[in-house]
Amino acid sequence: MKIPRILDILGLSGLPCFLQVLLYGLAGLIIGMGLVMVRISNAASYLYDSPETCINCHIMTDAYASWQRGSHGHVATCNDCHVPHENMVSKYGFKALDGTKHSAVFTLGTEPQVLELSATAVPVVQKNCIRCHQKQLEMVRLSSSKEQACWKCHQTIHGPLRSLSASPPELRPPLPKAGFEFNPIGETKNEPKE
């Protein structure tokens, strides 16, 4: 009654031949499909800070459009405000947790129409506001007033309306390419037939 060693399992040598072939084949399929998935989900882009990463799916297109044309469009990226910048661990840990939540919500189609900052996001964004606007805040802080969320007053950083559908279609950015060259997704437009 020996516990099978890892090499034995990987070797699969004791199994009938057809099962071994099947298992290797399936493992190959998984790895292959995983690679396809990395490509079509633009997975590598999540390691970087490009704002286009946030519109890999449709939910953030309105946030993107309003950011791009807003006061922060030329000076800050999504990540500058929305992920922590204390150290690499907090940054990538936050990205991983938040990203997993986002992809689950979008896959299941349970997103709300009006987005609110989550409880974990509130201190992150607040710290990032202060990170850049420290100077303007010195006088306010000296007055020892109670700290408020910046966006309680500065409400229109992402435009006056809050809705996934707030921006008109012509202002909405197209999704970044995430297919293979031979697959012209997003380039054909079906016109309504009369």
Partner: protein
Amino acid sequence: MNPKNDSQTLSNKKDALRIPIWLGLLILLICCTAVVVLGLLGVSIMERRWEAQRPAMVHRPIDEWETDNAVWGENYPREYETYLEQENDETKTLYGGSYPRDYLEEDPYQVILFAGYGFSKEYLQARGHVYSVEDVNKTARIKKPFNAATCYTCKSPDVPRLMNEMGITEFYAANFHDLTDQINHPIGCLDCHNPATLTLRVSRPALKEAFESMGKDVSEAGLQDMRSLVCAQCHVEYYFKPEPKNYLSFPWKNGTTVEAMIEYYDDIDFADYVHPISKTRIIKAQHPDYELYSTGIHSYRNVSCSDCHMPYRSEGGVKFSDHHVQSPLLNISNSCAVCHRWSEEEIKTRVEGIQTKVANAMMMSEEALVKAHFDVAAAIQAGVSDEQLAPIRTLLRHGQFCWDYISASNGMGFHSPQESMRILGLALQKAQEARLQTARLLAYKGISEPPKYPDVSTREKAFDVATRFVNDEPIQLLPQGTAGILN
């Protein structure tokens, strides 16, 4: 060497490499599941990326007179699915919702105010658009011999088709019960949309004619205005002109304020019924939702009916209007919260606070109106002449229209809170003025005690009282031994 030992070593070696078959099958199962899950995820990612390309696809061209909403639904599944959500007829808000709330049960005063008229028999809160045909066919208010086909005008997309076939005047003049077989589909797509281009359009002649009467052209309206005007085809104050027979018209010639409408109705001396208690010629208000909304802050800021009642939604890359037309209070986060950055609870509390103030003012004016009807009846019993009562009846006629203008409107005044309170103030002022003047006339007859107001605290009691007056067997309202001292 012992061959037996040899073979044992060999088989031991073999055993060391052999994993049990169940483990192999387990690995196979795990691999399969992983492939399936990854595959589904891949399909999901591709589908969601494709979504933005899909909405423009028309599977089946829609006929010019296609009245079946399900056929439209094949091409526009998101709109149709949300439209069908209107089948829920159990939603409740503080003052509205889609369940058939029984106004007469909740508020027996209305039995007195509508005495002798259909609304004193049955007055239910309307259910969603999908029930329009079913509900109009079974209401107690349209029973033989009452038979105006005009009552169908706002109930079905079959109506524009029939108007096109029969002619508009002929449709209105027809018999309701003769058309029942041809009115099959509830309020739906064709009522607001052009089937070829899906643009919004006005399908009912009454709104076009009302604009013409004000010297305006409804076809000049832009998209944002149309997102309210398609609703204004029905959610307005209207009446049936006697000539041409039962011709549906809006009293907008002098404007769309309550005063302008009263002036209009007085000019043509229109009345829906003569009140059996006070013999007042009453105008029944319908539901002037659009007119009331037009005086409010949301209209001023160019927020349309659809922005709150059918807010835009995004499903992936697809933006569409939520066709589940309902109270925004049932959908606060997607309608109000787009502009108002407060919590859902805060918004709800604020709206209900405004509505409750309107509801309280409404009840005050209602009570004054009920008493005013009985005061006038007492004056009749005391022998006061019709000539002396004429200005009082005019006050009562205008006061009841003002009250009904808000009472019959949807939204308990929220479409325009200040205007609603102003109009209810008018209703109360006119009712009390009528009571004051009646009291003077009664005093002149030597009656200084108040009339003996009958008990109308339940729907049944109120209905019995109303029936006595309808049958011309009025309840004696004058205090004993005071009648006709000066007669």
